[in-house]
């Protein structure tokens, strides 16, 4: 039985597209789980969801316009909205959460209308929408170029996070104190908005826009069940995200389940496990 599984896996791993999927999946999960800690702790988890829908709308525009590389359009649009939400949000009269809800549903509807009015050549509308929302097959059709793009971007995210770790902590724990004691918080907020938008646009390829929130939120929330220092939560969240993505992709290959949804299922299982571990830890200490 075990021999059979390993044999099947080895067989699948000999295909480049499966290896590409594994590499990109793990890297995107790693970046998302790092940023997720910041979003969850700043009570901004919902922004991930809103931006994912904006990315969906942008993706629809890109598909309709027959842009060769979707990313060229999706990335700038998502970054723009991300900055508006994270930075300009304070000045806009509409409440933050309402603005996100509005933007999220609006982008989704416009995207869907576009797909219907201008069906992509030779494609079927519901199939394309389904792929963009749930990322069911796109991760298995990655080109070599896209793999390198993912590697570069996630390396950038990890590097930035490590280099600016102390400032990220100060900004997340108490932005007002950081600003009052001389930190340029406006600049850092824009930088974070850009990085988040980049990761979300990237993650569209993996789990599709609907399930991106899961990649952002589950690792951080799980880590917070067990660990109580920022450093431990960050490290645990990164490891959790990578393991869940790896497990999800491998299971989906073996069981033939949709990739994105299987990764999220792995995230849910991990979250339940960590919740249990947190409860037991609390009982031992308490």
């Amino acid at each position: 039985m075990t021999g059979g599984i390993i044999e099947t896996l080895t067989m699948y791993l000999s295909y480049p597209f499966v290896r590409y999927a594994l590499i990109v999946g793990v890297l995107v999960a790693l970046s998302a789980s790092l940023l997720g800690v910041v979003l969850v702790l700043r009570r901004l988890s919902y922004i991930g969801d809103g931006l994912a829908h904006v990315a969906f709308g942008a993706m629809a525009i890109a598909t309709v316009m027959n842009v060769t590389n979707n990313m060229l359009l999706v990335l700038p649009i998502t970054i723009l909205f991300s900055i508006l939400l994270l930075h300009g949000g304070r000045r806009v009269k509409i409440q933050g959460d309402a603005a996100i809800a509005m933007m999220s549903v609006g982008a989704l509807a416009i995207g869907y209308i576009l797909f219907n009015l201008f069906p992509p050549k030779g494609g079927n509308v519901s199939g394309d929408v389904c792929t963009t929302l749930f990322g069911s097959t796109s991760i298995l059709t990655l080109s070599r170029q896209e793999v390198w793009l993912s590697i570069g971007l996630s390396a950038g995210v990890v590097l930035l996070f490590v280099l600016f770790y102390n400032r990220v902590f100060a900004l997340t724990f108490d932005g007002e104190f950081a600003a009052a004691t001389g930190m340029n918080t406006g600049l850092y907020n824009i930088a974070i908005a850009v990085v988040i938008a980049t990761v979300i646009s990237l993650a569209m390829n993996l789990v599709g826009s609907l399930l991106i929130s899961a990649l952002l939120v589950f690792p951080a929330l799980s880590a917070m069940r067990v660990y109580k220092s920022f450093r431990a939560v960050v490290i645990c969240s990164a490891v959790f995200g990578v393991v869940a993505a790896l497990a999800g992709i491998l299971v989906s290959i073996l069981a033939g389940t949709p990739v994105g949804a299987t990764i999220v299922a792995a995230d849910i299982a991990g979250f339940l496990l960590f919740t249990l571990a947190g409860l037991m830890k609390g009982r031992i200490q308490g």
């Binding site: 100060a170 724990f173 108490d174 009052a180 109580k228 220092s229």
Partner: protein
Amino acid sequence: MALLTCDNLSVGYEGRPVAKDIQFAVHPGDYLCIVGENGSGKTTLMKTILGLLPPLSGTLKTQGEGRRIGYLPQQSAAQRDFPASVKEVVLSGCLNQGRGLFYTKAQKERARHNMERLDVWKLQNRCYRELSGGQQQRALLARALCAADTMLLLDEPAAGLDPQITEDMYQVIEQLNQAGLTIIMITHDVAASLTYASHILHVAGTPLYFGPKAGYLQSPEGRRYAQEGKA
């Protein structure tokens, strides 16, 4: 030489003033209490002093060591369940002590010194959210001291603390003041400001009083507040 001087200062949001004609100066070693009711512009004034809001009109000048102000904010709901160790919180106050990406030996030493000073050194690896209210305030005070050790701005430092811990907190602040720190404290607690402050600024849209404590007790506002015991 004054560390901080405000001349005809108006503070507010988006061009709408909340408090006008504010005039006061803070000298080294002062213990200034800013009192007033809710909505009187205390918090807006504080944000302006910290540079988080631009002044609407008038001038706010800081000189020498007054340029660096340590700040003890009111705790937000988000912080109460933030996973962070006391050490991480206090160290983050040292960020403005250097331009490097990582903490230097000197910055760690500064954090250690201030943790010992506020008696939270033994708690350094404890989780911030699991500390008592008083211990959390001490940790945040240590962080503020890391950022600046000449002038501290405290926003309702005793809010939400029980009476014993409140008294304890005021003692700690008093000791810091006696050790030479300049204190600006925003508070509802008139009794405490009358006990500890050297100067009082009473704001209510426009300043009703600024000057030494003794003078405040002679002023109509001061007499009324001293009798009522709260602002």
